[in-house]
């Protein structure tokens, strides 16, 4: 099963890639359009946010199309590289580009209100809480790699797409639940987010070592070992950036109005 030569994908794959490619180009185009519009209506939309968006969308594309996506079908290590791009790096970059803020800036008032109502709904709150988002994200990975799902995913195009959409969405939800860039109506304390972040990072690390020792169905041992290590250290690198932003946000919020020495003097 390692070499999926007799993939049923065959003719479908180029079509899926074409649709996805067009969609991603459109998504970048709309962001640029919205950024331009927001800059005219409000103060200038920061250029770094636009850059993060373009990079994030590129990561999605690179994880599925191009050489990484190509090899991901046959080699587990590349699959893991693609997973890091799609499930961690792309969501992180996209969260930093504040898409919800941009949408709220540019939608007509009535639709913007509807969107903000949706964001404030109970179910949205529940799903976007750090704990639920972590379970969806890390729990989903455990299901993927410790059950037969990984094997069956390569047999069916729809399952393959579903798993990848989930990896991306859960990754985005997770990152957005940890670092607050866009407006959040149901905020959790830094301590709470830090604790859940540590536990989920632990879950990610444990799963990587589990994969190292117990290759998923059809994956040769050497590839599972390399893939597990890539997941472990690659995950660390991206989590490091999330931790850094979370701590930076704490640091900014804990800013004193006056320092102690000034208070004493004054």
């Amino acid at each position: 099963m390692n070499h999926h030569e007799h993939h049923i994908h065959g003719g479908l794959i180029p079509f899926v890639h074409l649709v996805l490619g067009l969609f991603l180009i459109l998504v970048i185009f709309f962001y640029l359009l919205a950024a331009n519009r927001s800059s005219r209506k409000y103060k200038k939309w920061p250029i770094h946010r636009t850059l993060f968006w373009c990079l994030g969308v590129t990561c999605i594309g690179a994880s599925i199309m191009g050489p990484v996506g190509e090899k991901a079908h046959t080699e587990f290590t590349w699959h893991m590289g693609g997973h890091l791009l799609l499930g961690m790096l792309a969501p992180f970059l996209l969260v930093l580009s504040a898409p919800v803020t941009l949408v709220l800036h540019t939608l007509p008032v009535r639709m913007a209100r509807q969107l903000s109502c949706f964001l404030r709904r109970r179910l949205t709150h529940l799903v976007s809480s750090p704990l639920a988002a972590s379970i969806l994200n890390i729990g989903g990975l455990w299901v993927l790699y410790t059950t037969s799902l990984y094997g069956s995913m390569h047999q069916s195009v729809s399952l393959y797409l579903l798993v990848h959409v989930h990896i991306f969405l859960a990754g985005y939800l997770y990152t957005a639940a940890m670092i607050y860039i866009d407006p959040v109506s149901n905020r959790f304390s830094f301590g709470h987010r830090a604790a859940v972040l540590i536990l989920s990072l632990a879950g990610h690390g444990i799963l990587s070592k589990w994969i190292y020792a117990n290759p998923p169905t059809g994956v040769p041992r050497a590839q599972a070992e390399l893939g597990g290590m890539l997941m472990y250290y690659g995950g660390d690198a991206i989590e490091l950036m999330i931790i850094f932003i979370l701590c930076l946000q704490w640091y900014k919020s804990a800013r004193p109005r006056t320092s102690m020495s000034v208070a004493y003097k004054g």
């Binding site: 632990a202 597990g228 850094f244 640091y251």
Partner: protein, 162 residues
Amino acid sequence: MSVHNQANLLKRNLFSGVLFGIGLAAFIDETVFHQLLHWHHFYDKSTTALGLVSDGVFHAFSWFATIASLFMFADLRRKSALNFLRWLGGVFLGYGLFQLYDGTVQHKVMRIHQIRYNVDILPYDMIWNAVALASVIIGFRLLSRSRSKSQQNKGNKTNESS
């Protein structure tokens, strides 16, 4: 600044130091023993399930602790509340305690991996844990020194004001 707040900031010096010490121990473990020397192994077949969990949690925690402690350090400086001796005591304490836990419980009981393979492990284990213990003792000494120093300062201040 209220007395309560000051006590809080003093505690935070220790807390930040301990967190940084834990992070430092984990960082040295990873860079020196895993990556540079290749003594430690990524995975050891005799690892217990609990060992895998403990290793995962501590690895994640130390990663977070390193960054969080440095931001706390910057916050203390910004508030002119940094007590460096107390912070340093915390670093030694955190470093030693984590290495001791790693060297006894994680390496020996949970068997996540050994310090080095294909050698007589006893001297390695003894040095590893002796360094950890020494670090804990230095940490406590520094803390008690910072405490007596701050009490002295307090005494001086009351003398001046009376």
